[in-house]
C-alpha cells in the first residue's frame, strides 16, 4: 500500500507540474484583449499588421519562447526587485522586467520603429505586450528576504501546500472558470475616463512601478500564511479578484497608452 501511495504521489506531482508564468494564459490574454479595446484605429491596425494576429493571440509569446534560443535571455526578465522604500532596484541589475519594458519602448517610440525592419518591430512588440503586463503581476515583484522575511511562506489548496506565486499568477481567472476575454472585459473594464487618466499618468513608468510595488504588498494581507484558497469566504475571494482585476486593468490601460504613443 505504501508503494502505491508513493506511486500515486509521484504521478500527481509529475502531472501537476506547471511552470510559473505571470498571470497565466488567461490573464495575459485578458489584458491584451482589453488593451485592444483602448487602442486608436491606427495603433490597432499597426499592431495587427506587424503581428499578423490579434494582440491576445500573441499575449503569451514570451512564455512559449523563453526557453528557446536565441530568446533564452528573456527567461530572467519577467520580474523585478523592489527596495524597502518602494522604488525599483534599477542599478543593481535587478530592474529586469521594468528595464526591459523601458528599453523596448525606447527602441520603438518617436517614430523610430519606422526605420527598423518589420521583424525587429514585431519582436519588440511581442516583448512589450508580455513584459509590461508581467510587471503588474503582484508576485512578479521580488522583495528581498532581508527586508521582508515575513513574505516567505506558502499557502494551501485543499490542505496541500501551494506557492503564492502559482496562486496569484492565476488570480484573474480565480472563480471564473470557462470565462472568455469578452465576458471578463464586460465585467471589469468599466472605469471612467478620469480614472483611466489617473492610472496612465502620462506614461510615467517610475510612477507605475512604485504603484505596482505598493499593490504587491497587499497580497500578503489578503492571502496570509497557510490560508486554504479552496475554503476561502466569498468576501476573501472578492478581495483576491478585486486586486487582480485592478492590476489587469492598469496593465491594459498602460499598455494601450504606450502603443497609442508609438503608433500615432
Amino acid at each position: 500500500m505504501k508503494k502505491i501511495s508513493i506511486l500515486i504521489f509521484a504521478l500527481v506531482a509529475i502531472l501537476g507540474v506547471q511552470s510559473a508564468k505571470a498571470w497565466g494564459g488567461f490573464g495575459h490574454g485578458a489584458i491584451t484583449y482589453i488593451t485592444e479595446q483602448h487602442l486608436t484605429p491606427t495603433a490597432k491596425a499597426e499592431c495587427r499588421r506587424y503581428l499578423n494576429h490579434t494582440l491576445p493571440w500573441h499575449a503569451s509569446w514570451m512564455d512559449h519562447w523563453r526557453a528557446v534560443p536565441p530568446y533564452q535571455k528573456l527567461d530572467k526578465l519577467h520580474s523585478f526587485t523592489a527596495t524597502a522604500d518602494g522604488d525599483v532596484n534599477w542599478d543593481s541589475g535587478k530592474g529586469k522586467a521594468v528595464n526591459l519594458v523601458k528599453k523596448t519602448i525606447k527602441k520603438l517610440e518617436n517614430d523610430k520603429y519606422k526605420s527598423l525592419p518589420d521583424s525587429v518591430v514585431r519582436y519588440n512588440l511581442l516583448v512589450l505586450i508580455h513584459a509590461l503586463p508581467d510587471i503588474h503581476c503582484p508576485v512578479h515583484v521580488s522583495f528581498s528576504k532581508k527586508e521582508f522575511p515575513q513574505y516567505k511562506y506558502t499557502i494551501r489548496k485543499n490542505g496541500k501546500k501551494l506557492k503564492m506565486h502559482k496562486f496569484w499568477d492565476a488570480s484573474p481567472g480565480f472563480t471564473r472558470e470557462g470565462w472568455t476575454y469578452e465576458k471578463y472585459a464586460a465585467e471589469v473594464d468599466n472605469l471612467k475616463r478620469g480614472a483611466v487618466k489617473k492610472i496612465v499618468k502620462k506614461g510615467n513608468i517610475d510612477y507605475w512601478t512604485r504603484d505596482i510595488v505598493k499593490q504587491a504588498h497587499r497580497i500578503y494581507d489578503i492571502t496570509t500564511p497557510n490560508i486554504d484558497v479552496a475554503k476561502m469566504s466569498d468576501k476573501k475571494k472578492k478581495e483576491v479578484t478585486d486586486l487582480a482585476d485592478e492590476q489587469v486593468l492598469k496593465a491594459a490601460y498602460r499598455l494601450a497608452y504606450v502603443l497609442n504613443g508609438i503608433f500615432k
Partner: protein
C-alpha cells in the same frame, strides 16, 4: 491492490483525442458562415439557424450519450500506401461526409431534420479531418493509432526538461493555448491572419482537399514517430500548422456549402 492499480492504469491510459473542442469547431463554422454566398447563407440558415453552438461536435455529442451510429474510426481519414483515400464504409470520415452530402444534395426528398443532421455531420467531420493526428496511412505503423513521443521544454540550458506527449493531444491541444478565446475572437483572428489565403485553401473539390490533407500529414509521419524527440521550438512552430488547418477547414466548409446551395 490489483483493483487500485487497474483504476490507476485506466485513469492514466487516455485514449486518442480526435477532435478540437466546441470552441475551435464553432469558430471554424463562424468563419465559414462569413464566407458564404447569398444562396449558401440561405441554405445554412434554413437548416441550422444563425447560431452554431449546438451544431458543432455533433458526433462527439452522440458519443457522449452512446447514441452514435458510427465507430470512433469515423473521425479518421484513411489512406492507402499511395496516399489515395482508402475508404472503409461507415468507419471513415470521408465515407461519412460523402453519405451526408448525398442527403443534403437530395434534400427535397428528405425531412428537414434529416438534412440538419447531415449538415451537422459534415461540419463535425470537416473539422476532424483537418486534425493531422486523425490521418491513418497504410504501411505507416505509427499512424494507425495514437502514440507518445518526447519533447524538450527548451532547447538548451537549465530549462532543458524532457516530457512525454501524445501525438493526438499535441494537435488538438493547441487551441487550449488560448483558453479565453471565444469562437468570435477565434473567428476574428483566423480571418485576420489567414483570410488572404481563403481562395488558395478552398480551391478545388473535396477530393483535392483530401489529397492535400493526406500529403501534408504523410510529411509529418515521415519525421515524427514514437522515437522522435521534439524541440520546444518545433512544437511552438507547429501551432501555425494547426492554425492553418483550422482555416483550411473553415474556407473549405464555406465552399462546400456554397456548392451545395447552387
Amino acid at each position: 491492490m490489483k483493483k487500485i492499480l487497474l483504476i490507476l492504469a485506466l485513469t492514466l491510459s487516455v485514449s486518442a483525442v480526435n477532435a478540437w473542442n466546441n470552441i475551435p469547431d464553432e469558430a471554424i463554422m463562424l468563419v465559414a458562415s462569413k464566407n458564404l454566398t447569398k444562396e449558401g447563407k440561405e441554405l445554412v440558415t434554413k437548416y441550422l439557424g444563425d447560431s452554431y453552438a449546438d451544431d458543432v461536435c455533433y458526433i462527439a455529442g452522440l458519443e457522449k450519450t452512446k447514441k452514435s451510429p458510427f465507430s470512433k474510426e469515423v473521425h479518421n481519414l484513411h489512406f492507402d500506401k499511395n496516399l489515395k483515400p482508402a475508404k472503409v464504409d461507415g468507419d471513415d470520415a470521408l465515407a461519412a461526409i460523402e453519405k451526408a452530402l448525398e442527403v443534403v444534395r437530395a434534400r427535397k426528398s428528405h425531412t428537414d431534420a434529416e438534412v440538419t443532421k447531415a449538415l451537422r455531420i459534415v461540419i463535425d467531420l470537416m473539422c476532424d479531418i483537418h486534425i493531422i493526428s486523425n490521418v491513418r496511412i497504410e504501411g505507416v505503423a505509427h499512424s494507425q493509432s495514437d502514440f507518445s513521443f518526447q519533447w524538450y521544454d527548451g532547447d538548451a540550458g537549465k530549462r532543458k526538461t524532457l516530457s512525454n506527449i501524445k501525438w493526438s493531444k499535441m494537435w488538438v491541444g493547441y487551441p487550449q493555448w488560448h483558453n479565453g478565446f471565444s469562437p468570435q475572437l477565434w473567428c476574428e483572428d483566423l480571418e485576420y491572419s489567414l483570410g488572404s489565403k481563403r481562395e488558395e485553401f478552398a480551391k478545388g473539390s473535396l477530393n483535392d482537399w483530401i489529397a492535400q490533407i493526406g500529403d501534408n500529414a504523410s510529411k509529418f509521419y515521415a519525421r515524427i514517430n514514437p522515437e522522435y524527440v521534439m524541440t520546444r521550438r518545433e512544437r511552438n512552430e507547429l501551432e501555425d500548422v494547426n492554425c492553418e488547418m483550422m482555416a483550411r477547414a473553415a474556407y473549405r466548409l464555406a465552399a462546400l456549402f456554397n456548392e451545395l446551395a447552387k
